[in-house]
């Protein structure tokens, strides 16, 4: 039996060997993304960001043709994500892994990146430890601590003394709660109460009531995108909480375009923290938003910019290494790389390979007839506090 196995393995390896002597003139990017299921919209925006970059800059870098290999994980399925990453490398001969919207999927695929020594560009997943799991990971989106610590800090420094926090009871929510509270308390604020709601929560009224009972200066809310932001906005309005008096603080998804459309005027006054909004007032962004709309008939969001800058990074490092696609060369090139993105200036931290960028505090206001996120503060050069400056 042992001999048979060895024989079969030998034959198989021969097949493999024959297969891998294929086109060395292309660099393939395995996009391990969600194209179907609950998170399909996020996946679509990331994909749009990447394809827009490729359209604008052509599909050749340093003499190599760039090919996208799209793999659908279907949702939060780390074992599938890991398998797809492995298959992308083994079957499709991908040189680079990209996308990664969900943390569990990114963490699982990190093992593959480490074992196969391939560059992995995380374009959305926001948990800090991801970049620590493989020395070949670089991130072009944002991290939860980076955004929420900054918000907590800003809140304490801008007249908010007491906050009640409400978050979704799972990884990113708990992460956000921890870092917001830290940023807030480190700067003199007091947390008067906190609650964690179940992940798939259709109805927020009881939780909002509990928050109202405590009468805080501000209520901090962290929920995932999708149906929840609009639902909580309505719950707030129903309970008579006016966002202009009791401040509502949150992260990007709370004030996303769809959320604002659904909430309507209830959303006026909501303060959120983000690395990107399509309303960012810079000439580069105005151009970006216009081309994005022409191509995809919708506005870009923070998912799109993660994809767009991810593609930018890949092109930049390939140009720097002259087309060499092995992990060591690419990650070395990525360290310290900085550029001006439609969101503002960004840099890949040479020590942590994580993103360093300007974090914006915005408030929902009516501009003309539209509800938009208007920037009221910008904190530059924010590193991820979990592994960057502290700890």
């Amino acid at each position: 039996m042992q001999k048979l196995l060895c024989g079969l393995t030998g034959v198989a390896l021969a097949f493999l060997g024959a297969g891998s002597a294929s086109a060395q003139n292309s660099v393939k990017i395995g996009m391990i993304n969600e194209y179907s299921g609950q998170f399909a919209d996020t996946g679509a925006q990331i994909d749009h960001g990447v394809t827009l970059w490729m359209k604008q800059h052509g599909d050749t870098v340093a003499g190599k043709k760039i090919e996208l290999i799209r793999k659908d994980t279907g949702g939060m399925f780390p074992d599938t994500a890991k398998r797809l990453a492995q298959e992308a490398i083994v079957r499709d001969h991908a040189d680079i892994l990209g996308a990664f919207s969900l943390t569990p999927n990114a963490l699982a695929a990190a093992d593959v990146s480490k074992q196969a020594k391939k560059l992995m560009v995380v374009m959305n997943a926001a948990t800090s430890i991801i970049t620590e799991k493989s020395p070949y990971i670089a991130r072009t989106s944002s991290t939860t601590p980076q955004l929420n610590y900054t918000l907590g800090q800003w809140a304490a420094k801008n007249g908010i003394k007491t906050v009640y926090t409400m978050v979704s009871d799972y990884g990113p929510g708990i992460d956000a709660e921890t870092w917001f509270q830290k940023g807030f308390k480190d700067n003199g604020g007091t947390i008067v109460g906190s609650v964690r709601f179940p992940i798939a929560n259709p109805d927020f009224s009881s939780f909002v009531q509990a928050a109202k009972d405590k009468n805080p200066d501000a209520i901090y809310i962290w929920i995932p995108g999708g149906a929840q932001p609009a639902a909580i906005g309505k719950a707030l309005a129903e309970r008579g909480i006016d966002a202009r008096k009791t401040k509502i603080l949150g992260q990007d998804a709370l004030a996303s375009e769809t959320a604002l459309k659904s909430m309507g005027d209830i959303s006026l006054g909501i303060i959120s923290v983000s690395d990107y909004d399509y309303n960012h007032q810079s000439p580069m962004n105005k151009e970006f938003v216009k081309t994005y709309n022409d191509e995809f008939h919708r506005n870009p969001d923070f998912f799109s910019i993660g994809g767009y800058d991810g593609a930018h990074l890949i092109y930049a490092v390939l140009a720097k290494t002259g087309g060499k696609a092995d992990g060591d060369a690419l990650i070395a090139a990525a360290k310290g790389m900085s550029w001006e993105s439609p969101r503002g200036p960004i840099m890949i931290d040479p020590e942590t390979r994580d993103i360093v960028q300007t974090v914006y505090i915005r408030r929902v206001e009516k501009v003309g007839n539209e509800l938009l996120n208007v920037e009221i503060a910008a904190v530059p050069n924010v590193k991820d506090p979990a592994h960057g400056a502290k700890k």
């Binding site: 919209d41 609650v195 929560n201 259709p202 109805d203 009881s206 999708g226 309005a237 129903e238």
Partner: protein, 286 residues
């Protein structure tokens, strides 16, 4: 005391919504023993019809609701004629497979036509905000939901108790063979009831929009809650579905307010306790 009343009110409203989405499934499952897992696809269809008519055609919200009902009913009739009637005597697993297949197709179709993001919708101004009554905030929309659902429940109960059609439905649920023996055209009755159930689901989907949102995965997400209501209430019983939906809605709200750490666990716990205590449901047949 006051917050408790507010929580009760919210729970009743949520329960009413669950009732509307589940009553159709309870009756069809009880009458024909046909496991229709695609029930929430009708709700989803109703939701999309409402959104399309409001956003693309500019219809007022209230006018879209009957359209949602009609859409759900029409879809039910079409599916029943083409697919379901071949499987009435088939085993339950086949019915599951068929209807799951239909759910998948419906999800992909919704994603194709509408995209995968949340459908935005704005309630008309007279349905927004809340009334402040004796220190409690009563959301206008929830009041509206309760009123609409109560009306529909009343109509259903009256139909069931006082009309010939209702008597036939009760007979067919109780003992199908006997009913056929008495000359009741059970197949046509079932088609009609199925359409009614689908229509109510569609209406429920439209009404659920402001509270639960809408995206292509709606058809699967709320299936579990609907199954819970149907199982706890008892198959074939409108009163059962109503009672179960109320119980679950209030338990869910109360749990989240008083013991938030338990979260969604409370609904599952209540379900387990209820089903172990009464395996056929609160008002089930046996």
């Amino acid at each position: 005391m006051l917050p408790a009343l507010g929580v009760l009110f919210d729970g009743v409203a949520y329960g009413m919504l669950l009732f509307l989405m589940s009553v159709g499934l309870s009756v069809t499952l009880g009458m024909m023993n046909f496991v229709n897992l695609a029930h929430c696809s009708f709700a989803m269809l109703g939701g999309y019809v409402t959104v399309t008519l409001m956003n693309a055609a500019g219809w007022p919200f209230l006018a879209t609701l009957p359209a949602a009902f009609v859409a759900g009913a029409a879809a039910s009739i079409v599916l029943e004629r083409i697919f379901f009637r071949r499987f009435y005597n088939s085993n339950e697993l086949n019915q599951c497979l068929l209807t799951i297949g239909i759910v998948f197709v419906s999800i992909a179709t919704a994603a194709y036509i509408y995209g995968t993001d949340q459908q935005p919708m704005q309630l008309p101004s007279y349905l927004r905000g809340s009334y402040h009554v004796a220190g409690i905030d009563l959301a206008v929309y929830r009041l509206f939901l309760i009123v609409v659902a109560a009306l529909i429940t009343a109509v259903l109960m009256v139909t069931l108790e006082s009309t010939r059609f209702g008597a036939q439905v009760r007979a067919a649920v109780n003992n199908q063979r006997m009913a056929r023996g008495l000359g009741i055209d059970v197949d046509r009755l079932f088609a009609f009831t199925f359409a009614l159930g689908g229509g109510l689901a569609g209406l429920g989907g439209g009404l659920a929009l402001p509270m639960l949102g809408l995206d292509p995965s709606f058809a699967l997400t709320y299936l579990i809650y609907v199954l819970i209501v149907v199982a706890v209430g008892g198959l074939g019983s409108i009163a059962g579905s109503f009672a179960a939906a109320m119980l679950l809605g209030v338990a869910d709200m109360a749990g989240k307010y008083y013991v938030p750490a338990l979260g969604s666990v409370l609904i599952y716990l209540v379900m387990l306790v209820m089903i172990m205590w009464r395996p056929s449901g609160l008002f089930g047949r046996r």
